[in-house]
């Protein structure tokens, strides 16, 4: 797997985060990639995994704390969530919209559908660790005030 593919396609995800956070949340997130010490994703985490298949296989991992997830989902819900399960549902939708935008960029740049997405899977827990063996990845970090998210975008060998 060419590291360039990971970096090139990673840039599409960066653009997708910038657009979607503005369009969906009306928040301009600061790009803190490379400044991991400035973001805080510890304690009880809520992570979303969306698989990528097709010409390139990989996955998006969207990491956040439960607090950041609640901030994002309450904006999407126009208020306090009615059910706890909505926290998961809405974060899955957020990740879906974000990755959908990125994959649209990627597919359109190739003028054909080269990557398909799987549905989101949302995990929460204490000491949550998510590992996808045998992939190369890039970390993108974003934050504003107490809202921090990290995207880990990884692709495996074709």
């Amino acid at each position: 797997m060419s590291e360039n593919i990971v970096e090139i396609y990673g840039e599409y995800f960066r653009r997708a985060v910038e657009e979607i956070s503005t369009e969906l949340l009306d928040i301009k997130l600061n790009d803190l990639s490379g400044k991991e010490d400035r973001i805080s994703i510890h304690g009880k985490k809520l992570d979303v995994i969306i698989g990528m298949t097709g010409d390139y296989k990989g996955r998006l991992l969207l990491e956040s704390t439960e607090e950041s997830a609640r901030t994002i989902t309450e904006i999407m819900n126009f208020g306090t969530l009615e059910r706890e399960s909505d926290l998961y549902l809405y974060m899955g939708e957020f990740a879906n919209i974000l990755s959908g935008r990125a994959i649209t960029f990627i597919n359109n740049s190739n003028q054909k559908k080269i990557i398909r997405l799987t549905p989101p899977a949302i995990f929460s827990g204490v000491d949550l660790e998510i590992t996808t063996p045998n992939i190369e990845f890039i970390n993108l970090c974003f934050g504003k005030d107490d809202l921090h998210i990290r995207l880990n975008i990884g692709f495996g060998g074709v």
């Binding site: 992570d47 995994i49 969306i50 698989g51 990528m52 298949t53 097709g54 296989k57 990989g58 996955r59 991992l61 706890e84 399960s85 998961y88 549902l89 899955g92 398909r116 997405l117 799987t118 549905p119 899977a121 949302i122 995990f123 929460s124 827990g125 204490v126 000491d127 949550l128 660790e129 998510i130 590992t131 996808t132 063996p133 045998n134 992939i135 990884g154 495996g156």
Partner: protein, 148 residues
């Protein structure tokens, strides 16, 4: 054969290769948000059938399976090598289970992802997931799936 039957058949065929006989216990339809075990291996599906399948174990069972896959080496924790082994196991089991499920397309699998932690909850679909329970020696493991 439907997907449940194919998962049961695939587990029953493949686990003995790791040295374990398993027994299918039950299948239930769960709400979409479930508490889950400490070690989970997730594979996503697309092209023809979209969905997620997760194989879930407790820590001890995961270590026993990794040990069996590594020729009996003592395994006391699920490290990166162990996660890679579990990923291979999931690829084998889920790959066999979904083969031939779609008449029109070859179903594509995402790379396996391993999620570990404590007090874990998982949502693999916004509709209800199905959960198949198996006995493996003195413990249980589960295969949960939600397909569109």
């Amino acid at each position: 054969m439907n997907i449940s039957e194919k998962i049961i058949e695939s587990c029953s065929t493949n686990f003995p290769m790791f040295g374990y006989e398993i027994e299918f216990l039950s299948e239930s339809c769960e709400v979409n948000l479930n508490s889950t075990a400490e070690v989970n291996v997730l594979i996503g599906l697309s092209n023809g059938i979209k969905g997620n399948i997760v194989i879930s174990f407790n820590q001890k069972t995961a270590c026993n399976i990794i040990s069996a896959m590594m020729g009996g080496t003592v395994v006391e924790e699920v490290d990166d090598m162990g996660k890679s082994a579990l990923g291979e196991m999931a690829n084998m089991i889920i790959g066999n289970a979904v083969a031939g499920l779609s008449e029109d397309s070859v179903i594509d699998l995402s790379p396996p992802t391993i999620a570990t932690g404590k007090n874990m909850y998982i949502m693999i679909s916004n509709i209800k997931a199905s959960k198949i329970e198996f006995q493996l020696e003195d413990s249980l493991f589960f295969v949960s799936y939600a397909l569109q």
